[in-house]
């Protein structure tokens, strides 16, 4: 078996009052064994519905899926034994201590903390000094580490992490991804979702997802290479005015803020495009203009795909 996760045309709809909302419009993808696979998309993209279907806590309305070779509907019990799931919302027992939570989950799966300690050691040592503290009293970062330890304690074949880094600061996010890399080296297949586009490059493959549809699916570097235009970065002394002016320039197809620069695509990619623009901007009193061709990032690709 080469695939840890196979998703075929999965559909999910919800009743919201009189309306029917489609959360997943028949999506398909595969995750290879040992792969670190990212679902990248904003809130409301359908990421959580998908996770809940794959971890057998929600039934799909159509299509089929297998996890570790088992069908998500028929073999749900087998799947529950071999996957770890860390939901986006903290779901451990707040009234139990760190250690009690961990041994509770170990016991559920007929194992002990000692038996699989090696797997969680890296993460658990950081919260072990607080093992007698109730989970409800932990800080956000510590809760996250405990939840990950609990999701790993039965040595799952596939690990599902639903937005583990949402609302987490950039330093802690970096540390979290380093933990994931080490878990991957131990052979665990990881499916992780995130709204942060910069985390996409840390995955082996990604699916860009929006409103229940997959926009693109590939290795991150392949997605960025397939960006259909030459992208430019531009800045000047007055960046907000620059944004208004570049958008008013007749040969600009799109221009949007991107950190300290604006990113720009020309309508017609002719030879004079750069000089024409610079002339136009100088007439509007811009100074310290810097214009340079750049490679697109995943976020640029996402923006392009949303058009």
């Amino acid at each position: 078996m080469d695939y840890s996760v196979e998703v075929k045309n999965i559909k999910k709809t919800y009743q919201a009052g009189k309306e029917i909302v489609t959360a997943l419009h028949g999506i398909s993808f595969d995750v290879k064994q040992g792969e670190l696979f990212g679902l990248i998309g904003p809130d409301g993209a359908g990421k959580t519905s998908l996770f809940r279907i794959l971890t057998t806590v929600l039934l799909p309305d159509g299509g089929s899926a297998t996890v570790n070779g088992f069908d998500v509907v028929k073999d749900y019990k087998k799947i529950r034994n071999c996957v770890g799931y860390m939901p986006g919302k903290f779901s451990l027992y707040q009234d139990l201590t760190v250690e009690e939570n961990l041994s509770f989950f170990a016991t559920l799966f007929n194992t002990t903390i000692e038996e699989n300690y090696e797997l969680i050691k890296d993460i658990y040592v950081q919260i072990e000094p607080f093992k007698t503290r109730r989970a409800g009293k932990l800080s956000g970062g510590m809760k996250q580490k405990l939840a990950l330890s609990c999701a790993l304690i039965h040595k799952p074949a596939v690990l599902f992490l639903d937005e583990p880094t949402t609302g987490v600061d950039p330093v802690s996010r970096k540390e979290f991804w380093e933990m994931l890399k080490r878990l991957k080296q131990q052979g665990i297949t990881i499916v992780v979702s995130t709204p942060y586009m910069d985390e996409a490059t840390l995955c082996d493959r990604i699916a860009l997802i929006q409103q229940g549809k997959i926009l693109s699916i590939d290795k991150p570097e392949k997605i960025t290479k397939s960006f259909p235009h030459q992208l430019y970065a531009i800045k000047s002394a007055e960046i907000y005015q620059l944004l208004k002016d570049v958008n008013a320039f007749e040969n600009s197809l799109s221009c949007y803020a991107f950190g300290e620069y604006l990113h720009l695509i020309f309508k017609e990619e002719h030879d004079n495009r750069e000089t024409d623009l610079l002339k136009f901007l100088k007439m509007r009193d811009h100074s310290d203009i810097e214009l340079k061709p750049i490679d697109a990032s995943i976020e640029d690709c996402f923006i392009e795909l949303l058009k």
Binding site: P42, V171, S172, E238, Q241
Partner: protein, 262 residues
């Protein structure tokens, strides 16, 4: 004459010098724990001020004091000319606040939310009606006017929530991670609204975990373990730390943090 007021803020607002937020050795202590440790800074009228820090650095505590929701243990601060310790109710009338977690009533419609919050901020019915229409048109929400807010996509909610937070033209608006989880296109539209608000003279005080958004601020402070460790324009900070991105500035400062979260 209508040259960007925004970007020239770095220079002109300091010269014009109207201070809208002033914190002087502002401190909040819970038992032995000093959540905000003697923080001192100023924010100018019309400025977009980024308030950054790792989880647990003390941002929320500081922000609660500035909003008049929590009284400082020591030190002083004034917001919109009012003292946070003695005039918290005046502060609440003169600021807007928006967070990612709670913003609007999901069970009320778009129009009802506008009416409700406008009423709370004391706008007259007549004024409110005009404002409400203006806002709905500006956001392109005409067709969604009668829809429950709960049924709107997150990006719409956040834009609406921001517009409602500034409905009463406050002197300052506090935004606590307003764009978390929002798609990249909507995130940029949201920042357009922030720029427009700043252009109209509203001071914007914003926290974010997106370092590209830190670049959109006129100035940024970075909190580490309860203290403000750095405060400057994005380009000033990059120069000082000799790095090319805000991400690296943040990383250099925040990785020294001894405490994390809440």
């Amino acid at each position: 004459m209508h040259r960007s007021k925004i970007v020239s803020l770095n220079y002109s607002s300091k010269m014009s010098g109207e201070i809208v937020i002033q914190a002087n050795q502002l401190t909040k202590q819970f038992g032995d724990f000093i959540a905000a440790n003697s923080i001192t800074f100023e924010v100018y009228k019309g400025e977009i001020f980024g308030f950054l820090g790792a989880n647990g650095a003390g941002k929320t505590t500081a922000m609660r004091m500035l909003c008049g929701l929590s009284s400082p243990s020591s030190g002083q601060a004034t917001v919109a000319g009012f003292d946070v310790r003695t005039q918290p109710e005046e502060i609440k009338k003169n600021i807007g606040y928006m967070s990612q977690k709670f913003s609007l009533y999901e069970d009320l419609t778009v129009a009802e939310n506008i009416q409700f919050f406008g009423g709370i901020y004391g706008l007259s019915n007549k004024h409110l009606k005009a404002k409400s229409e203006e806002l709905i048109n500006q956001l392109g929400l005409q067709s969604a006017k009668g829809q429950l807010v709960g049924s709107l996509p997150l990006g719409w909610k956040q834009k609406l929530s921001f517009s409602i937070a500034i409905l009463h033209q406050p002197k300052v608006v506090f935004l606590d991670e307003p764009t978390g989880g929002v798609d990249p296109v909507t995130r940029r539209q949201f920042w357009d609204l922030i720029y427009q608000a700043a252009e109209s003279g509203i001071t914007v005080f914003v926290t974010t975990h997106y370092m590209d958004e830190a670049e959109y601020c006129n100035r940024i402070s970075i909190m580490v373990d309860g203290r403000i460790e750095a405060l400057d324009s994005p380009s000033g900070l990059k120069k000082r730390f000799n790095v090319s991105s805000m991400d690296e500035v943040f990383y250099q400062l925040a990785r020294k943090a001894k405490r994390s979260d809440n």
